[in-house]
């Protein structure tokens, strides 16, 4: 098993903040909108440097999505910022009609995704956002795994034309991807080649998958670990190539089992290469208040859960 070094502990939302500032320096069409969460989204540095390109919308997310669509019509590249729940569920029809169906170049940037926002609890912990957004035709859905990758993804989506949902989180999290690694939208990243089981992970759970890979290696199991930072469009080739080799699959995500990465991968496999799949995800429930790590344990999104899923998947191999 390849060694991964933790170079820092940083929140992925800070990666977004840093990426946005850099994207804005490269391209004057980049504008930012925020609905009264500028500090939480780490958009303050951008706001400070480009006050005339920053639009404070107040606590009015539906209006913000409409404004973003209009700014895109005017040739701007709008980045909207609010929590993941208020970036998706709250404004679904606004996104659907004014952004997705109308194919507007809007980047919907969503912080505090998943359980790991912690104490604010289930009202804020959306676990359905990947599903909601990936169902929209033409929407790109990205869920990077650490600070460096979130920064790189932010720069990449600024250069890509079309609607994008970029999902990131609140807590400090291990940074282990290289600084300045180029982010290719839709291209899965092989982290560790293995022979016995394929683990496809996204977002914060990529780190859990790596830790699980180490434990599996000690047990003599060779896990292939692939970082699916882009859930849509999904890198079908990478999924099929790996599954062909290992003949069993685990998916891991900080999301509901319904509608998440696991569903997307299962769909590709069912249609092309039926393969046993075990899913590490939240089992059709809402979240709750608590510390991020406690919640990952309680809702079975921990390293040990990935290990157990891998063992189950291997046992199901045909």
């Amino acid at each position: 098993m390849k060694k991964f070094e933790i170079t820092a502990q940083k929140d992925t939302r800070s990666g977004f903040g840093a990426g946005l500032l850099e994207a804005a320096r490269h391209d004057e069409r980049v504008v930012g909108l925020c609905a009264d969460l500028t500090g939480s989204l780490m958009m303050d540095a951008f706001q400070k440097e480009y006050p005339h390109r920053f639009f404070q919308t107040g606590i009015a997310e539906a209006n913000m999505m409409g404004l973003a669509s209009g700014l895109a019509i005017g040739g701007k590249i709008p980045f909207t910022g609010t929590f993941a729940n208020f970036s998706t569920g709250r404004v679904y029809d606004q996104i659907r009609q004014s952004i997705a169906y109308s194919h507007k170049n809007v980047k919907i940037c969503a912080s505090h995704a998943g359980l790991t926002l912690g104490e604010d609890g289930a009202t804020h912990q959306i676990l359905e956002d990947i599903g909601l957004m990936k169902m929209l035709p033409g929407m790109t859905v990205i869920n990077p795994c650490d600070y460096n990758q979130t920064k790189a993804a932010t720069l990449a989506i600024a250069q890509y034309y079309g609607p994008v949902y970029l999902r990131f989180g609140r807590p400090k999290w291990p940074v282990f991807t290289p600084e300045n690694q180029v982010f290719e939208i839709g291209k899965a990243l092989m982290l560790n080649e293995g022979a016995d089981v394929s683990i496809f992970a996204t977002g914060h759970l990529v780190w859990k998958a790596i830790q699980a890979g180490e434990i599996l290696a000690e047990k003599g199991i060779s896990a292939e670990i692939i970082n699916i930072h882009t859930i849509k469009p999904l890198d079908a080739e990478a999924v099929l190539n790996s599954a062909r080799k290992t003949r069993c699959v685990v998916t891991a995500e900080e999301h509901q089992i319904n509608g998440g990465l696991g569903d997307s991968i299962a769909q590709i496999l069912a249609r092309n290469l039926p393969t046993p799949v075990e899913m590490v995800a939240v089992m059709d429930s809402f979240g709750e208040s608590g510390k991020p790590e406690e919640l990952l344990t309680k809702y079975h999104l921990d390293t040990s859960d990935v290990v157990a899923a891998a063992e189950r998947a291997i046992a199901r191999k045909i």
Binding site: I59, N85, T123, H124, G290, K291
Partner: protein, 281 residues
Amino acid sequence: MDSTQLQVMATQVRRDILRQVYNVQSGHPGGSLGLADYFTALFFHFMKHNPSAFSMEANHEDVFILSNGHVSPVYYSVLARSGYFPVSELNTFRLINSRLQGHPATHEGLPGIRVATGSLGQGLSVAAGIALSKKLNKDDRTIYVVTGDGELQEGQIWEAVMYAAHNKLDNMLVAVDFNGQQIDGSIADIMGFDEIGSKFASFGWEVMYMDGNNMDEILTTVPQALSKLGHGKPVVIIMKTEMGQGVDFMMGTHAWHGKAPNAEQFEKAMAQLPETELGDF
């Protein structure tokens, strides 16, 4: 309770707010402290409710809906101290496996809560629905609602404001927590509305004004507001409050909207709120 007793209770509620937020180092003290007086007056003086036998339907009881759910610490304190659940349960605020979620929820079955709030802008619509059901049930009790002022930026609020006036929901008393602050700064800087009251009035609401941090004024204004119910219009009180009221260094700023005090700040804050015979949790 009389005014003096209510003021003692409000001080205890403020102590509870600080302790809850301090214990877990998370939560929203600012708005909660500003609302302590009004919540105390409602739960211990005005509302006809039945804390020891909580019923979701609240037939022939007054109903309270908190739309700005982030001020859960003030809500939990008055619920516990009026008897909905044990005061000691305040120790579980925002912890895993607790009924006291970061934002009020029905999901864990906490008595006193009738709908989850936290995502802003939704509570007034739910309250209007309850108002409709009371009319259908020929139940003449009152629906009390609290909303934030920043929260009024959500469009859904104005859908509900329009609806309540058009449908003559004159069994609703809404209080807007007019503290002039939200997360990113003052309301005036973020999305200023010069005069909230005239906006409600133009939609057809009866509008009143009150200092929400003056117990005597609350005790005279709320009965006047209640006497305006039943005349074809919903009633709103634009309630001036101070975010962080009662703790000098938390006042006059938006900084304490959603920030927990450290140990030193906690001691300093508690020292400004004299212990009461009710006792801390």
